[in-house]
Amino acid sequence: MNKLIFKHEFLIRIKSVITWSLSVTTLLFVFFSFFSVFSEQAEMMNQVLERFPKELLIAFGMNDMNYHTVLGYISFYFLFIQLLLAIQAGNYGFGLVSIEETEMTADFLLTRPVSRSKILTSKLGAALACMLLTDVVMWISMFTAISIFSEGKGYDLSTLLLLLFSVILFQLFFFSVGLMISLLVKRVRSVTPYSLGLAFGSYVLSAFSGVFGDVKLEYITPFKHFEPTYIINNGTLNTPLVLINIAITILALVAGYWLYLHRDIHAVS
């Protein structure tokens, strides 16, 4: 780890961290502000939902839900927070090395007396710190929102903590897979299309995996690995799927390091 690179990388992302934290917080508060409406009219809500096709409900993860409990309500909208975090993590992963190459500053960095593995580790560390910072803001916002909107209803703290901490592994997946893909393609011209594609692609896979029950798409999408309804309803992580998630993450990181160490940094052409 090189402190200089870490600091530099951290500072260039700080604006982005603020933006993402604000978005996540806003989303969280807006959703939670409707909690009282949902919990009061839970019966009516259930009746409405019964008329929807079951496949649709599964696709949106809206089956097996208890809108009138705090955790039930959180599991209903936590998906959207996951989606935001996935896009952010994808952005950082896809951009970690590629932005430096499209903006041609890679020449500067890689001609410093620092090894490539140290450069990548420092960049990685900074990006992880930025994601973690966003998570911390999200966690604080969550507890604040609960204290404001939950109307004194109780909930199981350990289950909530499990859900909240699971986002770290969830983000790591998008980050490391993004990094690996960015090193596999010749040049990433713009990061956003890639990270949006990866995030929504994974989400759609997870949604369809619910529709065609026996198709095993859940193996590869973190939205299934860390499905909020599963965690809330069972009070535990889906261990086999989480292990798959960790395996893919590690594989992508190792591949990322290998590709980066062997990469040719091309001049302007």
Partner: protein
């Protein structure tokens, strides 16, 4: 001692050629010119030596260390000025220079001040607001800041006005006097001729000639211009004479061979004027490319 040793270095980008079987040495304390047209492989060679790209075959050594294995160690004592300079757009010049300097051991405040004043660089402007020439100046200061022992200059003068170019050359000569070895890549022959001791000529990825500037000029042809009454071009119709041209009663030609024979031949004339010149590097260079 050789500062740079390149042997049979080859780089292919997929199927397209970078450089093929390039070998040369650069000795300590010399200014080595590396000339060739665009796309000949100059930047490829430099990027291989900086381990920005990896060789397909062959090896390169800097300070006696293999570039693929000891990159960080080698780069501690290297300054690099790329042909096109790109830095973090959002940073101020001073912050970029400080960031760059912080990678090396030592205090470079004085040197930063000296270099930036010399190159007339405004330290508080944002990189994104700088013109191409000014970015180039940032590159020069950044490359020299940590007092490297070896400088890689990749077409360093593009974008600099003539006054700045002269200051830059003086600076490079000054560094060279302190013992700094310089690897100077360019397609402008005049500047290589002004600055370098030895040159390597690269063409379509291969080295075609490595030699002293002086011997390159000496072992080559002379430019001779003779003015005399009633002189005809046929007079010089002897072996070794090429490119005969007549202009206002004087005859120009290139000569390669025994200079004594030529001087005797010329002395048989009643001369108005005679000049015997070294050809410019430009003319020699064109010879390699014809």
């Amino acid at each position: 001692m050789s500062i740079i040793e390149v042997s049979h270095l080859t780089k292919f980008y997929g199927k397209s050629r970078g450089i093929v079987d390039v070998s040369f040495n650069v000795e300590e304390g010399e200014i080595f010119g590396f000339i060739g047209p665009n796309g000949a492989g100059k930047s490829t060679t430099i990027r291989l030596l900086l381990s920005l790209i990896h060789p397909t075959e062959g090896e390169g050594k800097v300070f006696g260390l293999d570039v693929t294995k000891h990159g960080p160690e080698i780069r501690r004592s290297i300054g690099y000025l790329p042909s096109e300079v790109f830095y973090y757009e959002g940073m101020k010049v001073i912050d970029l220079l400080k960031y760059s300097a912080s990678f090396y051991k030592g205090d470079f405040t004085q040197r930063m001040k000296y270099l930036s004043e010399l190159m007339e660089l405004e330290m508080n402007r944002r990189i994104s607001d700088l013109s191409f020439g000014n970015k180039k100046k940032v590159g020069i200061v950044q490359g020299l800041l940590h007092s490297p022992k070896l400088l890689f200059l990749d077409e360093p003068t593009s974008g600099l006005d003539p006054l700045m170019q002269r200051k830059f050359f003086d600076l490079i000569r000054e560094e060279n006097k302190r013992g700094v070895t310089v690897f100077f890549s360019s397609h402008i022959l005049g500047e290589v001729q002004r600055l370098c001791n030895r040159v390597g000529i690269i063409r379509e990825g291969s080295m075609v000639e490595i030699s002293d500037i002086r011997s390159l000029q000496q072992n080559n042809y002379k430019k001779i211009n003779v003015t005399a009454n009633g002189l005809t071009p046929e007079f010089f119709d002897t072996p070794g004479v090429t490119n005969v041209q007549t202009e206002n009663g004087s005859v120009n030609f290139f000569f390669k061979g025994d200079i004594n024979a030529m001087v005797q031949k010329v002395s048989s004339l009643k001369l108005d004027d005679v000049t015997i010149e070294e050809p410019t590097l430009e003319e020699i260079f064109m010879h390699y490319y014809e």
